[in-house]
């Protein structure tokens, strides 16, 4: 009996100490981690839309499907709209492929960047490597209206050998981004550059929380 009490108490103390330590670590690191993720995303946005110097969080509500989408509008130095950056997460081979797609104001894809993925190392992960990225860049710069499907499905995109599912998911993500751009295009031209919605803290928080699950 005494033995059991002793063991129970010991486990209790260890668990309590562990709990306090973890809670303290979490409280110290959580804001810093969020900040790091925000910075990483900011860098990614600049990379896919180099013309833009400033980004504003924007929203678009599809009244037909009653769904709200978020995207960021990129503004050039003198306040003109450079394009938009859309974050998509198509379902890949082993989970969502989180990526940002930069689209300039004419609706042309400017670039993409993979933020987080769980694809097979050495196969699907090639989406973020030059072996896939270079031919894709070439395709979007040379062809005016490329069909964004893998070649196997009758499109123009040179998919990755042995990673068709990842390649298809990539195309799906890019098309999703383009679809959203088409929907928000009237909004972009109709609203003058005078409406740079400041990114509120609440916006940033919800934005970064989406990137949270990248393990």
């Amino acid at each position: 009996m005494k033995d059991m009490l002793h063991m129970g108490l010991f486990l209790f103390v260890i668990a309590a100490v562990a709990g306090v330590l973890l809670a303290y670590t979490e409280s110290v690191t959580a804001p810093l981690i969020l900040e790091n993720q925000r910075k990483a995303e900011e860098l990614a946005r600049r990379e896919v839309l180099p013309n833009a110097e400033k980004f504003n969080e924007s929203q678009f509500t599809d009244t037909v499907a009653s769904q709200t989408y978020s995207y960021s509008t990129g503004l050039t130095g003198n306040g003109e709209i450079a394009g938009v950056v859309v974050k998509v997460a198509p379902k890949g081979y082993a989970g969502p492929i989180e990526m940002v797609v930069g689209i300039d104001k004419t609706g042309k894809i400017n670039g993409y960047k993979i933020l987080a993925q769980k694809e097979t190392p050495g196969l699907g992960t090639k989406l973020s490597e030059p072996v896939f990225a270079e031919p894709f860049k070439k395709l979007i710069s040379e062809k005016a209206t490329p069909v964004l499907l893998v070649k196997k499905d009758g499109g123009d995109v040179d998919g990755i050998t042995a990673a068709t599912i990842s390649s298809r998911a990539f195309c799906k993500g890019v098309n999703e981004a383009l679809d959203l751009f088409k929907k928000v295009q009237p909004q972009l031209t109709a609203i003058p550059q005078a409406l740079p919605l400041p990114a509120t803290p609440a916006d940033t928080a919800s934005q970064t929380s989406i990137t949270g699950g990248n393990q």
Binding site: A18, L22, T25, N36, G122, Q215
Partner: protein, 199 residues
């Protein structure tokens, strides 16, 4: 001399992967490239050092019957704190090592050494044991990754290797290739030991 043996036993005689066969799950997962193998090896070594020393220090306080849950709790807390701290203060390191750290929580080598060694020996010996096991783990991972990356991708540490680049065998970087290389390397080690014994 004795101390030196504590350090070196993890490298060959009691190699955690090839002899004790612990931590095989993360081993197969990360050995598809040399870079990953090295990252996992280094991350695991540091965690092992911390957990071995700490558990050795409290070894006389822990009631024997509940030692395993206590060790698990300590290791999980330790790893989670390291994971968070790296992510907060060194995003670059987190980007390269971050994916291995959650895998370490479930790495049996850490618990295995806590149970088999640190719970019975002093902190200094436990630290040496941890360093030796960590080095042994890193070397074993690198051996596996060397063959898998070279044959499966025609690269080493991401750099293309001329002859192998031409037509790499994709299967080597997938799970079956991992098992094949793993089995062959264990066989090779046994063969070398058997030869040494007959001489």
């Amino acid at each position: 001399m004795n101390r030196l043996a504590e350090l070196t036993k993890g490298i060959w005689k009691e190699n955690p992967i090839f002899v004790i066969s612990l931590g095989i799950c993360p081993t197969l997962a990360v050995t598809s490239s040399m870079t990953n193998a090295l990252g996992m090896g280094i991350a695991a070594t540091f965690v092992l050092m911390g957990s071995n020393v700490f558990i050795s220090l409290i070894r006389n306080l822990v009631p024997g019957k509940i030692r395993i849950p206590v060790y698990i709790m300590i290791i999980a807390t330790f790893v989670t704190m390291i994971d968070k701290l790296i992510a907060a203060f060194s995003p670059a390191l987190s980007a390269s090592l971050g994916i291995f750290i959650p895998l370490i929580v479930v790495n049996c080598i850490i618990l295995g050494r806590a149970e088999a060694y640190a719970s019975k020996n002093g902190p200094m010996d436990s630290l040496l044991d941890a360093i030796g096991m960590g080095i042994g783990f890193t070397i074993a991972l690198s051996c596996l990754a060397f063959f898998r990356e070279l044959l499966g991708e025609g690269k080493l540490y991401g750099f293309p290797i001329p002859f192998f680049k031409a037509d790499p065998a994709l299967i080597m970087i997938m799970a079956p290739g991992g098992f094949m290389v793993f089995g062959l390397l264990i066989a090779l080690k046994r063969f070398m030991e058997a030869k040494g014994a007959t001489k």
